[in-house]
Symmetry: C2
Subunit: 320 residues, 2 copies
């Protein structure tokens, strides 16, 4: 056995965690061995490993497509004519589906960003997308441009609630264009004023020219994120539901056949809405029983031509 090494003096705490995780997962050593090698207590080694996992320093990636998931991907492609489909294995009914689709969505985003041609990638917001971005590996993407589809000022005035674009830009080192706007303007007139600003116009134009777009999908029910996060009021939500609201993408509410409502909060939405894609690719990242109607509507209205979801959701979209 080796003599206990002194820990490198110039190692950051994260370095130590990464090294411990490397020894544990790649080297297959026990935490006891690692502790001895690194000259620390076993508990400290244990904490470093667990920290590395929770901080995302080490990633687990399934390199084997599960045949059941592959079958669903093929079926979804056929049924809805999609360009991009990934179905993540479920983690069981009790678990937040975000946990399973985030790593898969991250791989898909990496694949897109690996393109050597300069691309414009537009992104929405939301918990799911945020989780996915956290799992993306660091890359050098100076050639690409990232643009947000949606304002980054939430109703309480704080910037960046689920600040997807900034995190993404951090990770992949690309030029990025957030929208210094409220998500919803106070009135249609106020929104028009914002839109008249020159830099805003340019950013929105960039967003509309995106080659690839990644968005979340919100359900319209009592748990509607757009309502829970305080973007629209309960009253407004009810009105939209009565008008046939079925789902929402970057705050734009559409009905069950995927047509945007020309009504209510949509008149105040200050962001860029996603239009049925032609050459470009629009990938929805969403899973969960509650989101099935919203996804079905977006798919039948061809608002999206790509999907990252999990097994139960895929199954639900295929049933019937």
């Amino acid at each position: 056995m080796n003599l206990p090494k002194q820990t490198d003096p110039d190692a950051t705490p994260l370095d130590e965690a990464a090294r411990a995780a490397w020894l544990y997962y790649v080297g297959g050593k026990t935490q006891d061995q690692i502790a001895r090698e690194l000259g620390m207590s076993r508990q400290r080694a244990q904490r470093l490993v667990s920290r590395a996992v929770s901080e995302g320093l080490i990633h687990f990636r399934l390199e084997h497509g599960l045949s059941s998931c592959l079958a669903m991907e093929a079926a979804l492609t056929r049924r809805y004519g999609l360009k991009v489909v990934r179905v993540a294995p479920s983690l069981g009914a009790g678990t937040d589906p975000t946990k399973s689709i985030a790593p898969i969505a991250a791989v898909e985003m990496e694949r897109v960003l690996a393109s050597p041609e300069p691309i414009v990638m537009a992104v929405g917001t939301g918990r799911t997308l945020r989780a996915a971005v956290e799992q993306i590996k660091t890359m050098q993407c100076e050639r690409h441009q990232l643009v947000s589809l949606i304002g980054n000022i939430s109703p309480d005035g704080s910037a960046s609630f689920y600040d997807v674009i900034m995190r993404l830009a951090d990770r992949v080192h690309a030029a990025h264009y957030p929208m210094p706007l409220p998500v919803f303007a106070g009135s249609p007139r106020e929104r028009d004023m914002f839109h008249a600003l020159d830099p805003m116009r340019r950013t929105m134009e960039l967003a509309r020219s995106a080659n690839v777009t990644f968005v979340g999908v919100g359900q319209i029910d009592d748990t509607a994120p757009i309502r829970l996060d305080g973007f629209i009021t309960q009253v407004e939500l009810e009105a939209m539901r009565n008008a046939g609201a079925a789902g929402e993408i970057v705050g734009w509410i559409y009905d069950e056949s995927g047509r945007y409502l020309n009504f209510g909060s949509n008149l105040r939405n200050a962001g860029v809405r996603v239009l049925p894609p032609e050459e470009n690719t629009v990938v929805a990242v969403a899973a969960g029983e509650k989101k099935v109607p919203a996804l079905r509507a977006a798919l039948s209205g061809n608002l999206i031509n790509g999907l990252v979801t999990d097994e139960p959701t895929a199954q639900a979209l295929l049933d019937r």
Copy 2:
């Protein structure tokens, strides 16, 4: 809790292993929970997880460059003017360095193969390279061409001892050109006869035109792989050592300043030797104390302009 699911009737054993590993590593569940969810005994779940790891269905990847390794990479780049350098964290003095460099080399090869332009990748053989290829993820690389630098018939007549190119082609679905040749011909004349064959000529030409080359590096001492695998005799090895042999790349032996010996077994080598790269990239994948002199020689003779190695080896190459 969920009712125990019946295992899918159409799931292959590997599918089950992959699913168990997904639930374990990505889902963070205990093997007990997994066993219940999948309707099997805990031991079975345990075996599935361990199988998924050993079969490489699940990969562990460090997403955080250790500062000490990054520093060495920078230093090696500066010292030897390299285009590609990766230094893997060590797994401790007792552990086979192959284990640590294989995953890093795999990432590097994936990066090269991700190129959308068609490329020609030449590969050597060896334990290390073979281990790296096993860790490469499956890809669709129909646009690329893979070519072997070295015959695939070993001295005992069996084809494919460390059949790197076939495995690689399997994984990445690219056109591939092995060399249906013995590694060493019986005599220079016999070698010339092989080389006169038309298909052989074309393959060798392809190999010489490679954009990127990945090779192992063999030491020339009592543990020389070229000797242990029975390619040359002890007597021949001694003669080469006396003539100044310092290392070997795809069976071609070079001296301490990286010049190929015009002598002995080199006169019978039927493969394509690696020449000092100009536009193209030649990456050596090798680590271990024993390989340091061979690596140093290859580096100072500019036989290679890329290196994947581990921490102690990098340190040794930088010391002095």
